[in-house]
């Protein structure tokens, strides 16, 4: 688990750039990942946290339908959008 290497801004940035998630800014950031035009996964990113605690990190991974290891890869860059769609598809 590489939660200590990332903060919430990294998760949001990767969600936007790589997965094309449009986040809605409310109390927290919420966004839907669309697969084949349908809303398939919904992620919540807590606002105002520099570091991401372990359980929050794994909860975000689970929301995206990923293992923590795959979530690490998504944030580190090796896992592409196509790779992600293959995992959850």
């Amino acid at each position: 688990m590489k939660n200590s290497q990332f903060d919430v801004r990294d998760v949001k940035r990767v969600g936007e750039k790589k997965l094309h998630i449009e986040f809605r800014s409310g109390k927290e950031f919420n966004g839907w990942f669309k697969l084949n035009g349908k809303k398939a996964k919904r992620i919540t990113i807590p606002k105002g946290r520099k570091g991401i605690p372990r359980k929050t990190y794994s909860s975000m991974a689970r929301q995206l339908g990923l293992t923590v290891a795959d979530f690490d890869l998504l944030l580190e860059c090796p896992l592409t959008k196509a790779g992600y769609e293959k995992i959850i598809g």
Partner: protein, 157 residues
């Protein structure tokens, strides 16, 4: 006060469950560091008073357990502006410097500096998801099932 009633303590060490108004019942690993006071009969207390003393003792221990970093299971049935027919199980535990409240049945969590803040954040998340799901029908079957579930369960306050 003709009726005599002996209050026993041991049942609470077995059930370890209490009820907080506001967010339902809490199951917590309650431990007793001291022997509970002995309340034998109506000679010392009226049964009603003994009952409340017993409750207070149990709640005090429950609060102590909550102050520590134990995981607790909360039954959530009151949201911010809505109510849930069948309470949802929520696991609340420490996470880094704060706390996380996770729904067992829904892929949702709330984070906060303390347990109550985490639960409040989760309440917001549930309502936020519900609103999202009511916006349209462009969801996968998995989410349509969640939508159906929440439409049956959620009632406006």
């Amino acid at each position: 006060m003709g009726e005599s009633r002996t209050v026993s303590w041991h049942k609470y060490t077995a059930t370890k469950t209490s009820t907080f108004s506001g967010f339902g019942s809490i199951s917590a690993p309650v431990k007793y560091d001291i022997d509970p006071p002995t309340i034998g009969s109506e000679k010392n207390f009226y049964p009603e008073i003994a009952f409340f003393v017993e409750k207070i003792f149990f709640l005090e221990n429950g609060i102590e357990a909550l102050k520590e970093n134990h995981s607790t299971v909360v039954k959530l049935n009151i949201l911010l502006t809505k109510r849930i027919r069948t309470p949802l199980d929520v696991i609340v535990e420490s996470d880094g410097e704060g706390f996380i409240a996770r729904s067992v049945d829904l892929p949702l969590f709330g984070y906060g500096d303390d347990r109550l803040e985490a639960i409040e954040a989760l309440k917001f998340e549930i309502e936020s998801l519900y609103d999202d799901l009511l916006e349209d029908d462009d969801f996968t079957d998995e989410w349509k099932a969640v939508k159906h579930f929440l439409k049956e369960q959620i009632i406006d306050l």
